[in-house]
């Protein structure tokens, strides 16, 4: 707007050479999640230029993976996405299995699918909570965190750890379901379905949420493909693409996954997309539990600590809650990977789309924009 007061003020400031100042939005900022930041060049409260400030995660995942045994990397890969760690394990293991040309037992596939979908639920809860917190609705965030804890309890029972499960290994999974686990999972799913009504009332019917998020960070159907968005962000722009359907892995070929698409492409649509997929995920877990076969949970690949993967390369991709996680694994036939390249879902949105969206945006909306695109900084820094 040419005649808006902020524009006129900025023009006055420009005359006095007081134009642009730098504001560090992260890594030490309540609106930023993870070790990442934007250096915003601003006039008044309006952003004119943005410089992503990555590199605070001093781990170097890809390089580090070349120095560890095949199986040791299982302890490393989940750390690429804290909120949604399982897709990393499954993608890495699937890539190894592709090079080894083995087919894992059906029950292992279903167990992997169930952990993936549970991880998706917990990540969606965290994502919705982060979005609510970004616009100041801490009640939703607190209740969602409490509900996420129920899923983490189940993970603890199934895998022995709450956040980094390290559950998939090349050839299968590490544990079978405990007694009483399935009943408990059903109970938690019922509880979440009931809670969903409350979330609707608190978050998705809230008029101020609509006011804040409508039209924020609009991505058109073509732009979503051009910038390489994946997952819910892509489907919220009207592109029916889902790795679970288009290139199925684990047990998804046996399950009927419904792809939800919406037109709209703004932050509100993306929030509602997460909400709809949350409901669908609950149903998917129920279907997977019903059709899960009995049998072995692991393929015997010999001593895994001395596992040698034959020469070759493979790309495995997994649909995570934030988008597509891809692992490109190259083996030279040795004890360690020759090269592992990770494709993270946050990189296109966090680095490329930020260049397009953040300029001309007000400082008010940066946190909500980040939360609506589910940007998870560790996979920018891998």
């Amino acid at each position: 707007m040419m005649d808006s007061p902020s524009y006129m003020l900025s023009k006055i400031a420009e005359k006095d050479n007081l134009t642009v100042y730098e504001l560090f939005f992260g890594p030490n900022h309540p609106g930023m999640h993870g070790n990442f930041g934007y250096v915003l060049e601003m006039i008044g409260t309006e952003i004119v230029k943005v410089r992503p400030n990555a590199g605070h995660l001093h781990r170097g995942f890809e390089k580090l993976m070349e120095q560890k045994l095949w199986v040791q990397n299982i302890a490393l890969v989940p750390r690429i996405c804290v909120a949604d760690p399982d897709p990393n394990e499954v993608a890495y293991c699937t890539a190894i299995e592709k090079i080894l040309r083995v087919d894992i037992p059906d029950r292992a596939k279903f167990l992997r699918t169930i952990t993936l979908e549970m991880s998706r639920l917990s990540s969606f809860l965290m994502g919705m909570g982060a979005l609510a917190a970004a616009v100041g609705l801490y009640t939703a965030m607190n209740i969602m965190t409490a509900d996420r804890d129920l899923i983490l309890d189940l993970f603890e029972w199934l895998t022995g750890a709450r956040v980094y499960h390290m559950f998939s290994i090349p050839g299968g999974v590490r544990n079978d379901l405990a007694d009483g686990f399935v009943e408990r999972l059903y109970k938690v799913l019922d509880h979440l379905e009931k809670r969903l009504i409350e979330y609707d009332k608190l978050l998705f019917e809230n008029p101020i949420i609509h006011k804040r998020l409508k039209g924020l960070g609009y991505v058109s159907k073509e732009d979503a493909v051009k910038y390489g968005l994946t997952g819910p962000n892509l489907r919220a722009s009207g592109n029916p693409y889902d790795v679970r359907v288009d290139d199925p892995y684990a047990a998804y070929p046996y399950l009927d996954v419904r792809v939800i698409t919406q037109e709209g492409g703004d932050a509100l649509t993306r929030a509602i997309q997460i909400r709809l997929e949350f409901e669908e995920t609950i149903n998917l877990i129920r279907r997977a539990l019903k059709t899960m076969p009995e049998g072995e949970i692991r393929l015997n690949l010999g001593n895994l600590s001395a596992l040698k993967v034959p020469k070759g390369e493979a790309y495995a991709k997994v649909e995570s809650s934030k988008g597509e996680f891809g692992y490109y694994v190259v083996s030279d036939g040795g004890m360690k990977p020759y090269r592992v390249a990770v494709r993270g879902p946050s990189l296109p949105a966090g680095l490329l789309l930020a260049q397009k969206h953040l300029p001309k945006m007000k400082i008010d909306d940066v946190a909500a924009w980040m939360a609506s695109l589910a940007i998870c900084p560790p996979d920018i820094d891998k």
């Binding site: 290994i169 405990a178 008029p207």
Partner: protein
């Protein structure tokens, strides 16, 4: 209801939470009962525990450890004059992945359901000394045992790695 409707009254319905029981508890005084056993999950990957009678000191755990947290310490000599080695776990490095438990050939190394490790600080120490002190103490020494409460363990029948 279709998503996308908005209403000022909908958020206000959440005020009924005021009359519900809170989810959180006063932690040290009361604990939530979540699992069939009290405390953490039955297969929790907590602090290690090593059955020294079974441990043969083979060093497999040291070899598999992704984070180089296990070190084989010589604790004595046997009759033939060869060193007896036992694993020492450094919890400053350990990521609790449990691969050392999976790989143990005699199932002597297990993980307990304990997850709180207390180190008493000595007030007379300087900051630098204290760091060194905690570095030394923050390890599971072979003579320590937490064997009363076994969490993650593979058992003979369920060998995972190897």
């Amino acid at each position: 209801m279709s998503l996308g409707d908005k209403s000022v009254y909908s958020p206000l319905t959440n005020l009924k939470n005021l009359f519900k029981k809170p989810i959180t508890v006063k932690y040290p005084k009361e604990i939530l009962k979540v699992f069939p056993k009290d405390g953490v999950s039955p297969i929790y990957r907590g602090l290690h525990t090593n059955d020294l009678n079974k441990c043969i000191g083979c060093g497999m755990c040291q070899r598999i450890c992704p984070f180089d947290a296990i070190e084989m310490k010589v604790i004595g000599e046997n009759e033939q004059g060869r060193a007896i080695k036992k694993p020492v776990v450094d919890y400053g490095r350990c990521s609790f992945c449990g691969f050392c438990v999976d790989v143990c050939p005699t199932n002597s190394l297990k993980m307990s359901r304990h997850y709180i490790y207390k180190v008493k600080t000595v007030k007379s120490m300087s900051a630098k000394e204290e760091v060194e002190h905690i570095k030394q103490k923050f390890k599971l020494m072979p003579d320590e045992s937490l064997g009363d409460d076994i969490g993650y363990n593979t058992g003979k029948a369920k060998k995972i790695l190897g």
